[in-house]
Symmetry: C2
């Protein structure tokens, strides 16, 4: 599984279409910073410049995610789908021979292990399905950033203030952990900001997915026990 | 949070009473092997030589776990309760000022992020509550090791064969991940055995708890961002 230098190659599937290498590589850089043994290869699906923000955009993305995963699988040791809705996760697992994790289920999993009143911060809309399922009774509530419909809105001027305001309400309601229900918050580097501001554990789903992939690669077919 | 040598001190709360340092340190050694930056301090609750194996033994353990955690908290950077039932987890979190994780919720969390048909292997009885809650529809089924009522039974001659037989049935039923619903299986080193035998990801809840504690310490009050 290891390559020269002892690092593992992680394929990062972005669901936000971009030709800007800085934007494309945002999640890969987060993974490389959090896990010094990882080297990220980032690619994005086509024709979704606003990413995934509702059921229709998720349905549209699934076959593209599966096709991209199939293309990347031979070049990497594991794949991460960095979207909180885990689009195509089940289908990709059936299609490729490397471990695959999604940011939604991974983030929810870490949050469920760290607390009992988890506040999900995200875009306007609803809590992504894998997060709702895994948190169950641990879901304190959903705290959307007012006026933010897509990840692109988040990156605009008022995005940061809207996230901070949502987080403030979560803390007032008694949250013991915060979790991002949108990976746009990861790209913005909000985890460090919120930890410093509120003194609570904040789960970045991209980092959580990296941790889960690390576990998966360790336990995958006994290849790295 | 770090101590001399850059390591973090993790308090391991064992719910199996023992005065054998080898037995006492079994989970601590697993953590130290999986996370080179961790140094484990292991202690056990009193008067439960058979550990936790049903609701009555769990209820009996909770106040002892809380008292032990309160004693250990000033000496460590984080605490792990290495029992799949997470006995006293909620109460300990309220009582101490360091991050606390339980093996049950941590193991279930990792399994939920790694697969969709999770087989829980364990003692005769039922699936521990935190595992049932977090897995939800991802729980394929419960595969108890026949005739094994307590962790001590597991360590006996027929324990290993009984676990292997349960795992075999799980694979026949289509499991895509195996999870230990009893940390006695961790002490026995069954994760490596099962991975080699069946070629599936096998989640050791003690290792999963270590990973979650690592995350928790990273995100705790912004102390190690």
């Amino acid at each position: 599984m290891t390559v020269a230098g002892g690092s593992v190659r992680v394929g990062v599937i972005r669901v936000l279409t971009t030709d800007d290498p800085e934007v494309l590589g945002a999640h890969g850089r987060i993974l490389e910073a959090a896990f010094p043994g990882m080297r990220a290869l980032s690619r994005c699906i086509a024709d979704q410049p606003l990413g995934i923000f509702d059921e229709a955009s998720e349905r549209l993305a699934v076959p593209k995610v599966v096709a991209l995963a199939a293309e990347m699988a031979s070049e990497v040791d594991g794949l991460v789908i960095t979207c909180a809705a885990d689009p195509g996760l089940t289908e990709v697992r059936r299609a490729v021979g490397v471990p695959v994790v999604g940011a939604g289920s991974s983030g929810a999993a870490v949050a469920a292990a760290l607390g009992e009143r988890v506040a999900v911060l995200g875009l306007e809309g609803s809590v992504p399905r894998p997060i709702r399922e895994i948190l169950g009774r641990r879901l304190l509530g959903f705290y959307p950033a007012r006026g933010m419909r897509t990840a692109c809105d988040l990156f605009s001027g008022p995005g940061r203030a809207a996230v901070l305001e949502a987080a403030r309400q979560a803390v007032r309601d008694g949250a013991d952990v915060m979790l991002f229900g949108c990976c746009g918050l990861s790209s913005m580097g909000m985890a460090g900001v919120l930890r410093a501001e509120f003194g609570l554990p904040v789960v970045d789903p991209v980092v959580a997915a990296g941790a889960m992939l690390w576990e998966a690669m360790r336990s995958w077919r006994g290849s790295l026990c």
